[in-house]
Amino acid sequence: MKEINELNLPEDVKYTDDHEWAKLDGDVATIGISDYAQDQLGDIVFVELPETGSTFDKGEEFGSVESVKAVSELYMPLGGEIVEINAELEDAPEQVNSAPYGGGWMVKIKIADMAEFEALMDKSAYLASLEG
């Protein structure tokens, strides 16, 4: 597993305590899990995602990621409606390991309340929470 100083934590996304990230583009946020989360889980073998059109509140479970011997639930960093899911993960879940902020993105949501986005952690706050 990676040491904290080896983690890839981009500046242009925000983070949650549950190790999801969200990146803003207009009123749509792209959501995935952080490098720390994928590293802890090990080889991801399956990603379960919601249907397009479903809506979630902040903190609500929206799917799960599985490694060979563990399952982790995914929690919404912020509320909204799913406008797109990353269908490629069905056949290539390994992208969550290899490119957690790129090809490993999971869902895009239309944000209901922009204040929820603002309340997420930036890189330094997230890093501090990991070092906690």
Binding site: F46, E48, E66, S67, V68, K69, A70, V71
Partner: protein, 444 residues
Amino acid sequence: MRYLPHTSEDIAQMLALVGAESIDQLFEDIPANCRREGELDLPAPLTEWDLNTHMDGLADTMGAAPRYKVYIGAGSYDHFIPEISRQLLLRSEIFTAYTPYQPEISQGTLQTIYEYQTLVTRLLGMDVTNASMYDGASALAEALLMSIRVTKRKKVVVSKAIHPLYRQVVATYFAPTDFEVVELPFGADGRTDLSAVGDLSEIAGVAVQSPNFFGCIEDLKQIGETIHSDKKTLFVVGFSEPLAYGLLKNPGSQGADIACGEGQSFGIPRSFGGPGLGMFSAKQKYVRNMPGRLVGKTVDVDGKSGFVLTLSTREQHIRRERATSNICSNQGLCATASVMYMAALGGTCVRGLAQLNHDKAEYLKAGLKGAGFEVPFAAASFNEFVVKAPAGFAARRDALLEKRIVAGLPIASYYPELADHYLFCATETASKSDMDLLVKEVSA
């Protein structure tokens, strides 16, 4: 005691190393108020030979085939079992192995189960089969629970022509839940009457059995089409006699989403009802909702082909209260027996054997008709069928027990509306002369 290897010298040496003065001292950590006094009040140990005599005595009281001619199927069938499976199953490496959690030293079990999964999948025309469930009844209950997981609906529908004991088990599994089980009646021809199924958009799954408890072959295609008029509702096809699919159109080709049932017919002794074999197959898209273990193909570090338990995140040891089932130990050795049987029988001979079962039952059916029995259900049957007996048959049936003949199973206790109705079964083990004798005895 021959199973306990310790000499008193061993015990003394081991206690010395452990630092205890006596074995009792090892248990002193258990509070005194939790320890029991005295010895177990059990019979004195029997020698191997005395045990054999005792067991022979118990077994001799049983009305077992081949000494008795038992014309009952009803979920437990009398088929010849080849000697090879009895002997191969006694190989220690097979029957004294645990669940194959360490794949490097369990490839025998793993390949065997992979082959079992494959041959059952091919038999039922499905996509994927698990490593086994307890029996046909629990497999059905699990299939219905699975339909609820998949559809997130709360109501399931089961045909009354499903084995009544399987339906009782379903009722047990559903009793503490807030899910509803509704029963469908059977029609005058002995097949399920789907007309009362109700609003499919509320129904998670509809289950029928084919051949059903009365031996009648259901019109699966028609039922499947009706059920699938709702896109989500799952069509569950149960069975208690898998040999029928050596001959009949399989469930998968007729729209089944889940096919599940009892596999005892394939090389497993009836053994007073267990252990049997819960077969459980589904369409590929439902694989992550399936209960039970799955074996999958992979490679080792050197690229050599091999097998492992896989998709384990569905299971209790990982997903705990959110698992697809609580099942852990399954019926692995029975699955092994059945794959040996399927391999020995082969794709060509299974057809002949299935046809033979049908022919024998038709012969008996015709004989009983000639002896004054009515055949109430017009639908085609496989190797068992229902008759309505003439007056006085019950007493005659009792008397025939003395002649080591068990003439069918009375089914009125399961279906009060079917008083004087009996379920008869004839497989390849029923000779013409035995059946002729049966017909003669019941004719008088």
